[in-house]
C-alpha cells in the first residue's frame, strides 16, 4: 500500500536579495512500512522535504499525498490534525517540553488527542518501558541525558500509534553507542509496528540501517537506492 507520494515539489526561500532553492521538482513515492534515509550535505533540501511531507511547511508547487489525503491543499487546522493523529516527529534537539516530566511529555500529545487519563497513563508507562526508560518517568528533561531525552522524544512520537515517523538528524547530538541504541529502537518499531520511518541524516552509521537511501543535493534527488 502506498504511504506517501510527492510529485514535482518545488520550494524556494528568500534570504535577503537571494533566492535559495529548497526543493527543485522533487518527486518521490514511499511505501508504508519503509525505512528511508534522506542524506546529503547541509542545504541539500532534506529538512525541507521532511517538513513538507510532515505538513509543517507547504511547497510552492507540487503535490503531497499521504494515504488518500492531499495535504498540500489543507488548511492549518486540518494539517495540525494530520500531524497529531498520523505523524510522529523526532527532532535533532529532542525538543521536549521542559516543564513536563518524561511521562507528561509523552502524555501531552495523547491528551491533545482527547484520550482519557487512564488510557494515557497506561500507554505512557508502557511506551517508556519499551524505549528503556522505566523508572525515569517522573524526571524532567533537564535531569535526563541526551540519549534519554531522545528516547522520550521517540516515545512521544510513536505513542499515538502514527503511520509515519519523520526524524530530522535524530542522532546528531548523541554519542555512537546511544546512536546505535536509538537506531536499533527505530528498526524494532519499524518491524514490529509497521511504522514508516523517514530519517534525514548526515550520519553514515545511520544510513546503514536504511532499507532505502535517497541522496539529495541542491534541492534535487540525485540517487535513490534500495539496500
Amino acid at each position: 500500500m502506498t504511504s506517501i507520494v510527492c510529485k514535482d515539489l518545488c520550494k524556494t526561500f528568500q534570504q535577503g536579495d537571494e533566492v535559495i532553492t529548497g526543493l527543485d521538482n522533487v518527486s518521490i513515492t514511499i511505501e508504508k512500512g519503509d525505512f528511508v534515509c534522506l542524506s546529503g550535505p547541509s542545504g541539500s533540501g532534506k529538512t525541507t522535504l521532511l517538513n513538507a511531507m510532515g505538513g509543517l511547511d507547504t511547497p510552492d508547487s507540487g503535490e503531497i499525498t499521504i494515504g488518500r489525503v492531499r495535504i498540500d491543499k489543507l488548511g492549518k487546522a486540518a494539517l495540525a490534525d494530520i500531524r497529531l493523529h498520523n505523524i510522529g516527529f523526532v527532532f535533532q534537539a529532542y525538543n521536549l517540553i521542559p516543564v513536563l516530566t518524561a511521562r507528561e511529555n509523552v502524555e501531552f500529545v495523547m491528551q491533545v488527542s482527547g484520550l482519557d487519563a487512564e488510557e494515557r497513563s497506561k500507554r505512557s508507562y508502557k511506551i517508556l518501558r519499551e524505549v528503556g526508560l522505566e523508572g525515569m518517568e517522573n524526571r524532567r528533561p533537564a535531569h535526563l541525558s541526551g540519549g534519554q531525552q531522545q528516547r522520550v522524544a521517540v516515545a512521544r512520537a510513536i505513542v499515538s500509534q502514527p503511520t509515519l515517523v519523520l526524524a530530522d538528524e535524530p542522532t546528531a547530538n548523541l554519542d555512537s553507542v546511544t546512536s546505535s541504541q536509538l537506531m536499533d529502537l527505530f528498526v524494532e518499531l519499524n518491524q514490529h509496528h509497521n511504522i514508516t520511518f523517514i530519517i534525514a541524516t548526515h550520519d553514515l552509521r545511520v544510513m546503514k540501517y536504511a532499507k532505502r537511501l535517497i541522496k539529495m543535493e541542491d534541492g534535487k534527488i540525485i540517487s535513490d537506492e534500495k539496500q
Binding site: 517538513n51 510532515g54 509543517l56 511547511d57 492549518k76 487546522a77 495540525a80 490534525d81 494530520i82 500531524r83 497529531l84 493523529h85 505523524i87 516527529f89 527532532f91 525538543n95 517540553i97 521542559p98 516543564v99 513536563l100 507528561e104 502524555e107 501531552f108 500529545v109 491528551q111 491533545v112 488527542s113 512521544r156
Partner: protein, 409 residues
C-alpha cells in the same frame, strides 16, 4: 490535574522573579483598590451622616408640597404630639419638630432679615449638631422661653452679644402681624458663613405663639442611628402617618438631592484615578506575557509541530494569566480586606482632621466601609483587565508558523 493547567502553573515559575513582580503589582493595586474603595464608601457614609445630622436629618415628615413651596401657610396640625408618637413608635429620641418662618431682626444698631427656626429644645440636639456648636452662651431654657440663638456673623453684624435683646418682626401664619422681643442666649459657629449670617433658632412653643401657628409646625426631623437603618425607620414612620393623608415622608435623597450628585461626581473622579492604576497593571501583565510568549516561540513551534492547534496554545497563555491574576486577586484582596477591616474597627484620620472635626462638632475619625462590593469590585476589574491584556500575546500564536518558530533560538 489537567496537563494544560499543570504546564501553565509550572511555566509561571520558570521566571520566578518576573512572575512575582507582576503578581506583586497586582497585589499592590488590589490592596490599594480595596482600601481606597472601602475608605471611599466609608467617607461617603460619613459625609452623608455628617451633612444630614448637622441639620436636615435622614428623613422629614412634611405637609405634601412643602419641600417645593416652603411657605409658612404650608404647615400641619398637632406637630408636637405627632413627634412624640414617632419617638415612642421608633423608640428613639432622635425625632424633633420644627417650624420655619422669616422675620426682620433688629438690634439697637441694625436690622437684618433672617430665617427663624422654631425647635424643640429637648430634642433638637438629637437631630442637629448646631446646639453643640455654641461658642458662647447656652441652649434654650424651655419650650416657651423668649430666647434666641444666632450665628456668630449675625451677632457681629447686629453688634450684639449674649444677653442682648433683639426685636423680631414678621407676619404670622394667618397673615397677622408677628412681633416679639427675644434674649440672645447663645451664639454658634456652624462653619457655614451662610448659616451663621442668616439663620436663628427659637423655642418651638414661643415660635408657635409668635407666628400664630397654634399647634402647627412645618416638619418633623428624624435621624437614624446609621444610614443602613433608614429603610427600616422609613417603613415604620410611613405606617404612623398613614392615617394623615396630607403628610408625606421625604428621605435624605429627596431633601438633599445635591448630596448624591456630589458623591457621584467624587466617585467619577476617583474611578478615573483607579482606571490609571488598573491600566498600568494591565500593561505590566501584557509586558510579562508578551515576553513569555516571545521567549517560548520555539517551544510553541514544537507543540504546533506535534499537532497542537493555536487555540490550545492561546488557552495556555490565558490560563497562565488567570493563575497569576487569581494569585494577585486572592492575596491583594485578602490583605486589602484585612487592612480595611482593621481600620473599620479603629478608624482612620489624617493630620488636622481632629481639629477640623472638633470645630464642626463632627466625628474625628473615618471608618472604611467593608462590604463584598468594596472588597471585590476593584480586584475583579484588575482580574478582567489582566485577562484582556493577555489576549494580544495569545493571539500572536495564531500567526506562528511551526517551522520558523522552531528555528527561533
Amino acid at each position: 490535574m489537567n496537563i494544560t493547567l499543570r504546564m501553565a502553573w509550572r511555566n509561571l515559575w520558570r521566571h520566578k522573579r518576573r512572575t512575582w513582580l507582576t503578581v506583586g503589582a497586582m497585589i499592590f493595586s488590589n490592596l490599594l483598590l480595596v482600601f481606597m474603595i472601602s475608605l471611599q464608601f466609608g467617607s461617603y457614609r460619613m459625609m452623608i451622616d455628617n451633612t444630614l445630622k448637622s441639620y436636615t436629618g435622614h428623613m422629614q415628615v412634611q405637609l405634601e408640597g412643602y419641600n417645593d413651596d416652603s411657605k409658612i401657610r404650608n404647615s400641619f396640625d398637632n406637630i408636637i404630639p405627632l413627634a412624640e408618637q414617632l419617638r415612642q413608635t421608633l423608640n428613639t429620641s432622635r425625632v424633633a419638630a420644627r417650624g420655619v418662618a422669616f422675620a426682620m431682626t433688629s438690634s439697637e444698631m441694625r436690622s437684618y432679615g433672617l430665617q427663624i427656626v422654631g425647635v424643640e429644645p429637648g430634642y433638637e440636639p438629637e437631630v442637629s449638631t448646631l446646639s453643640g456648636l455654641l461658642k458662647k452662651g447656652q441652649f434654650f431654657s424651655g419650650n416657651n422661653a423668649e430666647e434666641i440663638i444666632i450665628g456668630s456673623i449675625l451677632a457681629r453684624n447686629l453688634r450684639v452679644d449674649i444677653g442682648a435683646e433683639l426685636t423680631l418682626l414678621g407676619s404670622g401664619r394667618d397673615g397677622s402681624f408677628a412681633a416679639g422681643v427675644v434674649l440672645v442666649t447663645g451664639i454658634f459657629e456652624s462653619g457655614s458663613n451662610d448659616v451663621d449670617r442668616s439663620m436663628a433658632q427659637i423655642p418651638l412653643g414661643y415660635f408657635q405663639s409668635l407666628f400664630s401657628m397654634g399647634n402647627q409646625g412645618h416638619n418633623i426631623v428624624i435621624n437614624a442611628e446609621d444610614l443602613s437603618l433608614v429603610d427600616v425607620l422609613q417603613s415604620k414612620v410611613s405606617h404612623v402617618i398613614a392615617s394623615r393623608k396630607e403628610l408625606v415622608l421625604l428621605d435624605w435623597n429627596q431633601l438633599q438631592p445635591g448630596l448624591q450628585q456630589a458623591i457621584q461626581a467624587d466617585m467619577f473622579s476617583a474611578w478615573f484615578m483607579y482606571a490609571i492604576l488598573i491600566v498600568l497593571v494591565a500593561f505590566s501583565v501584557l509586558n510579562t506575557q508578551l515576553m513569555s510568549v516571545l521567549e517560548r516561540t520555539r517551544e510553541f513551534g514544537i507543540m504546533m509541530a506535534l499537532g497542537v492547534k493555536p487555540v490550545r496554545l492561546g488557552a495556555l497563555v490565558i490560563t497562565e494569566t488567570t493563575l497569576m491574576s487569581t494569585l494577585g486577586l486572592a492575596i491583594g484582596a485578602g490583605l486589602g480586606a484585612l487592612l480595611a477591616y482593621y481600620l473599620s474597627l479603629v478608624g482612620f484620620s489624617y493630620p488636622g482632621m481632629e481639629e477640623m472635626a472638633g470645630k464642626f462638632n463632627l466625628p474625628d475619625r473615618m471608618y472604611p466601609s467593608l462590604s463584598l462590593l468594596s472588597v471585590f469590585l476593584g480586584p475583579c476589574i484588575v482580574f478582567i483587565c489582566s485577562l484582556l491584556a493577555s489576549v494580544y500575546p495569545a493571539l500572536r500564536l495564531f500567526f506562528l508558523h511551526p517551522v520558523s518558530a522552531m528555528r527561533t533560538v
